[in-house]
Symmetry: D2
């Protein structure tokens, strides 16, 4: 292995650029050696050059075939994730893949099989696990000092809803948005989810219904370890990105709160004002994106377990599918009903 | 009407003593003129004398028949509430009744019919509506400045679970404990509940199951106005009485937090410590109990609407029944399935 | 001693009424048996009757001479405090006296001498020591777990400035307002003050200067135990009563914050709003007034030390005199310069 | 001017490395083209190479003489600052200089004269002005909506005291540590300081006294605009870096609080624990260091005023000198007593 982990970046969109910039500037033990994107153009090449990526390509094969690439970052569109995982695994590259692996369980299983056969690492981009706040909540419960977990609660609201054009192809709120919270719930409960029940509504825009989708959803969860939980999602929250988690346990409770823009408080005869939460995931999970990659790089270099692996990628999708089924059929859905 | 509203107190147990003491010491426009309890004894008479109640009796009829009594406080055991309401109404007394009116919808309807026929006031003791914190949340949404309500969330945890002897006769977590949160949900949403779905578990003590009961429950709610909501309850929370509510709306979100014992914070090299939430309802809702009675007294004296009336008493019980049905049958339950 | 401590109340103004009402309604082991005020009138008699005080008088001697009075509350105008203490002591009554004992050190010493000779209790009304928040700060440092005290900090701001007619006779900001903070500083530092230095300014109203007074003052303190401290006062704070204390120590820091009207927080696209601090001392120190009296009653009944005694009353006045001297002379002033 | 502002870095110690790394990774419009340090060695050259600095030198003249250098960062030892400013100014380079410019007013004036004559920019490294929290406090008062400023308060405590070897050459707490707070006070008050009064003590270690120094100090301030203020400093605070500011104004108050490591809160039957403040200036002012440089780069490129200039550098030193004089002479000191 070269001194730094040499990364081939697949996808030069928003998330690919984010990871590439972080790796070049803030991740000490890795460097991006090639950026591949079928829509490679002058602007993207400029970007790559600006952050010191030596090579660009329109052809993903240039990443898989290069002996100079140790690991692959799959930041392309969701429908390509599973196939790229298979190709990367077959080429013997370690893999970081943005979530979700796929929306089809069969395809996920194919990808995981390729990974297992090749014996490479696969980390799925559940960035929230690396947020200092959520991690502190997780760690307090995981330490055991709070005893048995009883209830896991997660609130997650985006500041602004997506355009309907996006909603049409998003796969719906569960696989598109709540999947992060589903993974968080599994992470916080330290347990698989075995049953869900969903209530949802179109409150911000009736057109969500055109796609069998909702903009506001609450999902109750039963975990394999006996705990229960609830996630509430909303596509809009004009005050910013609302991201809070809580675990109520036998001997106590641990919860976090939003990160706010500053700690100043203005007190007048009229009111007391303080700063709003950070606006969206780029602000809130800014540091978490770097930690996530550092942890992947360390897991590869030290041959240790990745912090969010293939099974996490698979289960989060299965639960999201169950949530939608529960919404559409108006009844609780057991995970055993969903294809494994 | 005499200068002060003259109150006949039915029941000299914990809650009766609480109201009587508040009225004598902290409610300016009312006075307790008689305390009646079938278990009247020397200690109870001492108590009454100590706070200046001039008369005691073993016979509730002494309250209903007295021309010196303007209004009746029903603080006796739950099974007597409905009958006492009927007797008080027939005697033309205004009525403050502790929750629940009854656990049987038929009996509640009989009581409400008597109240309506007599044209007297009936306020049900949903004390949390009078808590300054929850009220501020309610008022922010009710002001309209936050736009349409989307999601109502309520967390309610008791510090310590009840003894099994109490669980056996409590009617279960929904009618005994969650009923307060159900009323709070209706109050915050400003809407009736039309459907519920319940997940529950016995996590603190497996013996709850002996009574078809749970110690931990999450209930999702659909409101008539389109909003959705969720309540989570737990019988134990060793850090104190956990009482938080939240309304997420079109233009913003409003939420409150627990009341803590003091604002001091101790920062050391090891940790940052602050005070725990107040221990239980007597501390947390101390002021609310006084406000509740003041509001009842004012409603009677000024002939205005009581802030929590018979319909609120009825609906909260119907929803509690639906919650339990959902738990036992493992499916969402519509309120139209429950006797009206 | 009778079953309850029988109290003679001197003074039926705002603070006398406050204490009398608290004693009658909220202090179990005491009762007011007589209210004396030279300006006794029908309204004051009505008030007394309303809260169950059996006797009223225009003559303070009726309090001192009554064998039915165990203890005296001196809530009359400041200039009468010292003389009433002497008369009460000579009559063998235990004494609760509002602050300050007097603005003249000689008179204070006379009063303390009478108290000592008579062997009665004297508690001075430094109510803030009984505030749950400040007390928690005190107790954290007093526990010893934070090690040596380094710095004591106190912020104290009134919501609204007094009228100039009051300023004219108030004795100035130090003896009128900061005296509470001076006592708090001594309480938190657990040490006498040995030197002060003052900066002051007339910022809210230039007319304070007409009385050699200021509306805004900062005073640095040196304590006998080596710690240093600072108090800042302002006559106006339109957001409410600002009362915060802090002790920075060898092993950590402890500080409290204002008590706010409720815990609700409203988050919108524009701002995040929360409730204001309580408006003034009646709201903020409401519970402390009751605790203070309970502690006095207990000290008398159990013959234990009062929590704020004659020396505290004397020293706070001496320090206030030193603060003003420092302001007027533009230099630090040692307490040894002030008459003992 | 080249596309990016080309920076010559003087000094490869902790702060020089910090700025260089930030510029290379996080400041888009600037790049470090040379690093000069008389103690240049292999490790420093490795560092430079690692972050893409193309040239290293032992000779500062290589920076001043290079036509490829647009601006100079002076991050060398304090005693060299003034001379380097003069050389940079004479070479026509814009200048960013770490604080303090010098501890001798004469030398500062010489440096400022050279800057003025050359017409170059000089920004002094008062990084705290760029902290989002302190800036929000400043901006709230500067907006005018709070009316006239009355009181400025600053608390600043380092987590751990420096070794005595450092204390010996530090120039004392005022010029070494409080100088940041003095600048912050001037920034928040938007006014010069005209008089100070100091109380100080050796509480953490008696050896501070060996150098006429203290480890704990409180300084009262009078501002030219009539406001008053107070700064309290302590060399140790085992819970972390304590950095809080406050402005009390005519129509309200604005204050910030420490930045904490995460928002998680753990509630148990024993206590409520939350995260500690960030440990030291590298964590707390991490973002501020980047903003500071960005603002300098923008001021140079757009020829606008720097946010903290030569006069700020001069005045902060003069006030620090006055603070120490006040401590040693035991009296308030007017700034007019200090060499201009």
């Amino acid at each position: 292995m070269a001194e730094k982990l040499r990364i081939g970046m697949l996808g030069g969109g928003r998330i690919g650029k984010l990871h590439a910039t972080n790796i070049q500037n803030l991740v000490q033990d890795a460097e991006v050696v090639i950026l591949a994107d079928p829509f490679m153009n002058e602007a993207m090449e400029e970007f790559a050059k600006g952050i010191g990526i030596p090579k660009c390509s329109k052809d993903p094969a240039d990443v898989f075939n290069s002996p100079d690439v140790d690991a692959v970052f799959i930041c392309s569109s969701t429908d390509t994730h599973a196939d790229f995982i298979i190709q990367a695994a077959n080429a013997g590259k370690d893999i970081f893949c943005e979530k979700p692996i796929h929306t089809d369980v069969k395809k996920i299983n194919e990808a995981l099989a390729a990974v297992e056969k090749a014996g490479v690492k696969l980390q799925v981009g559940f960035v929230r696990r690396f947020d200092a706040n959520h991690k502190a909540v997780h760690d307090a419960a995981a330490s055991g000092k709070l005893g048995k977990r009883y209830v896991v609660k997660i609130t997650s609201r985006d500041p602004e809803g997506p355009p309907m054009s996006y909603v049409a192809v998003s796969g719906g709120i569960f696989v598109d948005m709540m999947i992060h919270d589903i993974d968080m719930a599994r992470y916080l409960a330290d347990s698989d989810i075995v049953e869900v029940s969903t209530f949802g509504a179109c409150l911000t825009d009736p057109h969500f219904a055109d796609y069998d989708d909702v903009d506001t959803a609450i999902v109750m969860l039963k975990f394999a370890n006996g705990a229960i939980g609830v996630i509430d999602n909303c596509r809009t929250a004009p005050y910013g990105y609302d991201q809070r988690v809580e675990i109520h346990c036998e001997k106590g409770c641990v919860r976090d709160d939003n990160v706010i823009n500053n700690t100043a408080q203005v007190l007048t005869g009229d009111t007391v004002e303080s700063a709003k939460p950070t606006w969206f995931f780029l602000e809130r999970y800014n540091d978490a994106f770097v930690t996530e990659v550092n942890d992947f790089v360390n897991a590869v270099r030290n041959n240790t377990e990745v912090p969010a692996g293939g099974k996490d990628g698979l289960e989060s999708v299965r639960v999201a599918i169950a949530c939608k089924k529960s919404l559409l059929e108006g009844r609780p859905v057991k995970l055993e009903e969903i294809e494994k």
